[in-house]
């Protein structure tokens, strides 16, 4: 038993002082880790990154299942794929980029030194919890930053276990202690304490709009990303069978919880029939008008999206709506006559329900695609299936999205897994989407560079920087503990006491928080 288990007579846990106190201790511990990490050379850094990627890969399947069990949504097999993609492939993608050593530009007489952000506070969502956790942790390690993760409460237990496993792997590979930490009991006021702390250098916010806006309002540097609502336009020039198959594959992937999934399919009258046939043979059920109305009523409550439907599969949703479909049905397609505030189905739907709008012409289709993102999801993703580059260019210039995925599944493509975009679980929604970054977030966003700039006058020599190595002193030696047998090596931390089981009230509170966040995610 430890003192922590003795019931405090005077409980201050709900005070600002307590929250700030907890936050600052974790953040300052992270600062120490970051300070020591900055002494590491690239080889030592990459050895840690590789070890963590290996651990992430190894536990990918386990946590795929664990989060589905904990949160009740998504597809474990697909989560395993995402969890794996954010392990070795992520490292491979950035392997040749050096965020540790100096860059020398002879022509401009400039030398650039990477300077880690320091302490990163990262939010991870309920929809891609472990993949995002892998992603942010590995990015932080590549750039020699310390990271404190705040998991979504709906997937708290799995996230805590995964983060501890990654940190253990990192430390075993030589990383400074506590280079990865996780907030074990996240609450909104607690998260705010972290965001507002001057000890936080950068906030990486992925999650509901309120959290992202809170990050930007915190007075600390933040990279926050907005929600998606991707339009996908199938042009008359497209290979329709392939397009339909890709769309169905993408929309059914992990039951559509990725924010990059196609939300509204737009096409033109001339290929409507053909496309519907192709969709059906790819596993889609095309709903009748009556079925669309049932879907609409089920998915959208007066207060917003039905969070119970998030990440559920197509036949479950059909069953709930009283729509009879074969059990093999992969997605439900809901034809809608118009797009905009009047049509809820033109909003983001984190479940395998795809709205379908048939426009009169190519021009009208493009205008409608633009309208989809005006409603919600600005700056995020759009897709097009088309064989005409001029049309692709025009579409891309019209939609307010910073990535337009061509002839590929948008779920994976926008996140860099079926395209050559940078693999990411944090999609920059840029200025359209009220974010500071418009590209896929990568390690380059977690360092700034000190630029050593010489006199541009040709008479002033630049000097020889190529031979110079930065001084890396490596890990700190353990201070002596004089007189202690075998002194020096400190003992590993005792494990913190198990948290008490949630009582009924806490569970209700948790449910309320989750529902609120998910609703906000889908509102806007």
């Amino acid at each position: 038993m430890t003192a922590q288990q003795v019931e405090p007579l005077v409980d201050i846990s709900n005070s600002d002082a307590a929250r700030v106190g907890r936050a600052e201790m974790m953040l300052e511990r992270a600062r120490w880790a970051a300070t020591v990490f900055e002494r590491y050379d690239r080889e030592a850094t990459m050895a840690i990154v590789e070890a963590v990627a290996a651990k992430a890969h190894e536990h990918a399947a386990h946590f795929g299942e664990a989060v589905v069990a904990e949160s009740g949504f998504g597809v474990a097999a697909h989560k395993k794929i995402k969890n794996e993609l954010t392990a070795h492939p992520l490292v491979d993608f950035y392997r040749d980029q050096d965020f540790v050593n100096a860059r020398v530009d002879e022509a401009r007489k400039i030398v650039e030194l990477p300077r880690p952000a320091g302490v990163i506070f990262a939010l991870t969502p309920s929809t891609n919890p472990i993949a995002t956790l892998h992603f942010k942790a590995i990015l932080a390690l590549m750039t020699r930053n310390a990271i404190v993760i705040s998991p979504h409460p709906a997937v708290r237990e799995s996230s805590v276990a995964a983060a501890h496993a990654l940190c253990e792997a990192a430390v075993a590979a030589g990383a400074p202690e506590a280079v990865i930490q996780i907030l074990e009991h996240p609450t909104i006021p607690m998260v705010e304490a972290f965001m507002h702390s001057p000890k936080t250098n950068l906030i990486l916010a992925t999650g509901g709009t309120p959290m992202v806006r809170a990050a930007y309002s915190s007075s600390n540097p933040a990279i926050g990303v907005g929600p998606g609502n991707a339009p996908v336009y199938v042009d008359a020039t497209a290979e329709i069978t392939k397009a339909a198959r890709r769309i169905v594959d993408s929309k059914s992937f992990d039951n559509s919880v990725l924010c990059t999934n196609e939300s509204v399919l737009i096409t033109t009258q001339d290929i409507e029939k053909q496309l519907k046939i192709a969709l059906k043979s790819a596993g889609a059920h095309i709903c009748s008008d009556d079925e669309v109305e049932r879907l609409r009523r089920f998915l959208f409550h007066p207060r917003g999206f039905n969070v119970g439907a998030i990440g559920r599969d197509a036949s479950w949703i059909a069953g709930e709506c009283g729509i009879r479909v074969p059990s093999s049905t992969r997605i439900l397609v809901a034809p809608i006559g118009r797009i905009g505030v009047e049509e809820q189905l033109s909003r983001e739907k984190l479940c395998p329900v795809l709205a379908l709008h048939v426009a009169k012409s190519r021009d009208a289709a493009m205008t409608q695609a633009r309208a989809v993102l005006r409603l919600t999801g600005a700056g995020h993703s759009a897709a097009i299936h088309c064989r005409d580059e001029a049309v692709i260019m025009r579409y891309s210039g019209m939609v307010e999205a910073y990535r337009v995925i061509v002839n590929a599944p948008c779920s994976q493509g926008a996140a860099g897994f079926a395209t050559n975009l940078a693999p990411t679980f944090t999609i920059g929604t840029g200025y359209f989407g009220r974010s500071s970054i418009g590209e896929n977030i990568g390690p380059q966003h977690l360092v700034h560079w000190t630029r050593i700039a010489h006199n541009s006058d040709k008479g002033e020599p630049f000097g020889e920087y190529h031979g110079l190595k930065r001084e890396f002193r490596g890990p700190l030696a353990h201070a002596p503990a004089d007189g202690v047998p075998g002194a020096g090596a400190a003992q590993s931390p005792r494990h913190a006491p198990q948290s008490p089981a949630l009582d009924g009230a806490s569970k209700d509170e948790l449910r309320r928080l989750i529902a609120e966040e998910l609703r906000d995610l889908l509102r806007k």
């Binding site: 019931e7 409980d11 201050i12 201790m25 600062r31 120490w32 002596p480 007189g483 002194a487």
Partner: protein, 423 residues
């Protein structure tokens, strides 16, 4: 010095303590602490000092730690000192919390004092009662406080002045790290207890040699004496464990904690007692009484302190701070090897050794001028007590080292003149 401060110091001499007030001025430290926050002290004239003294670990968690302030404020909504005659909610709660952290499974009770000296007296009385013997063995140059028994257990520096030194041959002082002397003192089997600061602070933190403390404990067992661990300065995670004695593999019979236990927010000190030593608490529970001892507000603050120091962050920050400062101090040591001659260290408990019998005094003065507060060891002024806080920030640690390097160089010149350094 401002006129305001001069006036204040005059009043200090007139109403409070003329000798102490003047002594500090003579040592070049005209400090009047006004505002304080985190690990910063602000002199009444505005100078900021990084606190590396912490009043012997009292401010282990920093000054006015916000969570301790909050819990004290909240505590006043319900408690005051309490009534020492009766079972009291906060006293029992803290005793339970302390027992959970105790350095051995046999610990059972906690007796309360209002400060460290009284706690030591309770510990010595407890040992005498349990053992039915009078003699107490302590360390040469020991310091355990200023109350009746505690002052006798310490160096004569503080007892003779008041004609309060031991005259009945009941208090024996033996050399630290000298097992033969210890055995000689215990051989007569008439010793109630050996009292031992796990690392003697006021003597400049000489470190126990490997095996010394466990051997003392073994001698205690051999000759029927009890072992009292004075953990007032070394406890509360300052050596990387809750109590330093466990780092050395010693399970004491009685343990005393004070100072940092309530973070400097409300005075309290505690004596942890094993079942075997706690006989008086059953025989005559009114045997020791203390109106302010175990004040319930102090208990409330102490419980929060215990919770904070046991967080995983505390342990790892302590390690980072110890490692980082050591690396930096080693560099300074290497730059002035003829003056800064050694570092005694166990975690955040550090003694910096200088090559002059009073060498720590000019270092203290120069550090003070450079915005760092650390104090010489009263009973060995060649050693500077260097006691960084458990939650010290990285920035403050680095800042301290920078100022330290400057101050050590200046102090070296004060002591050794401009003699060339042997680098």
């Amino acid at each position: 010095m401002s006129q305001k401060k001069q006036d204040f110091l005059a009043r200090s001499k007139e109403f409070w303590n003329p000798g102490k007030t003047q002594d500090w001025i003579d040592m070049g430290v005209d400090l009047v602490i006004d505002r304080r926050e985190g690990y910063y002290l602000f002199d009444m004239d505005g100078q900021r000092l990084i606190d590396m003294h912490l009043n012997g670990g009292t401010y282990n968690l920093g000054h006015r730690h916000p969570e301790l302030v909050e819990v004290l404020k909240a505590g006043t909504e319900r408690f005051d000192m309490g009534n020492h005659h009766f079972p009291a909610l906060a006293r029992v709660a803290l005793a339970e919390a302390l027992r959970a952290t105790a350095p051995g499974p046999d610990f059972k009770y906690t007796a309360y004092a209002s400060g460290g000296g009284e706690a030591i007296d309770i510990a010595l009385k407890t040992a005498r009662h349990a053992n039915q013997k009078r003699r107490i063995v302590s360390i040469h140059k020991a310091y355990h406080g200023h109350t009746g028994l505690a002052v006798k257990a310490g160096d004569h520096r503080f007892s003779k002045l008041f004609l309060s030194e031991d005259t009945n041959d009941e208090f024996i002082h033996v050399k630290f790290n000298d097992l033969t002397a210890m055995e000689d003192a215990l051989r007569g089997r008439d010793v109630a207890a050996v009292i031992m600061e796990t690392i003697p602070a006021t003597y400049g933190f000489p470190m126990p040699e490997e095996g010394y403390l466990p051997a003392v404990k073994a001698l205690c067992e051999k000759y029927g004496a009890l072992y009292i661990a004075d953990e007032v300065q070394t406890g509360l995670m300052r050596t990387g464990e809750m109590w330093a004695c466990t780092r050395y593999g010693v399970e004491p019979d009685i343990m005393v904690t004070g100072k940092g236990i309530s973070g400097g927010m409300y005075p309290i000190a505690c004596v942890l007692i094993t079942e075997a030593c706690g006989g008086w608490l059953k025989e005559d529970g009114f045997g020791h009484m203390s109106t302010m001892g175990g004040a319930e507000l102090g208990c409330v603050v102490a419980m929060k302190t215990l919770e904070i120091v046991q967080r995983p962050e505390s342990r790892s920050m302590g390690q980072y701070i110890a490692d980082f400062l050591r690396a930096g101090l080693d560099d300074i040591c290497a730059a002035f090897p003829d003056f800064f001659i050694g570092i005694r260290q166990h975690g955040l408990v550090m003694g910096l050794m200088f090559n002059d019998p009073e060498g720590a005094k000019p270092v203290m003065k120069r550090l003070y001028e450079n915005g760092v507060w650390a104090i010489f060891s009263t009973l060995d002024p060649s050693v500077l007590q260097f006691k960084p806080g458990l939650l010290l920030s990285q920035a403050d640690a680095e800042e301290t080292l920078r100022r330290m390097a400057i101050a050590v160089e200046q102090a070296r010149e004060d002591v050794m003149g401009n003699r060339r350094r042997m680098v």
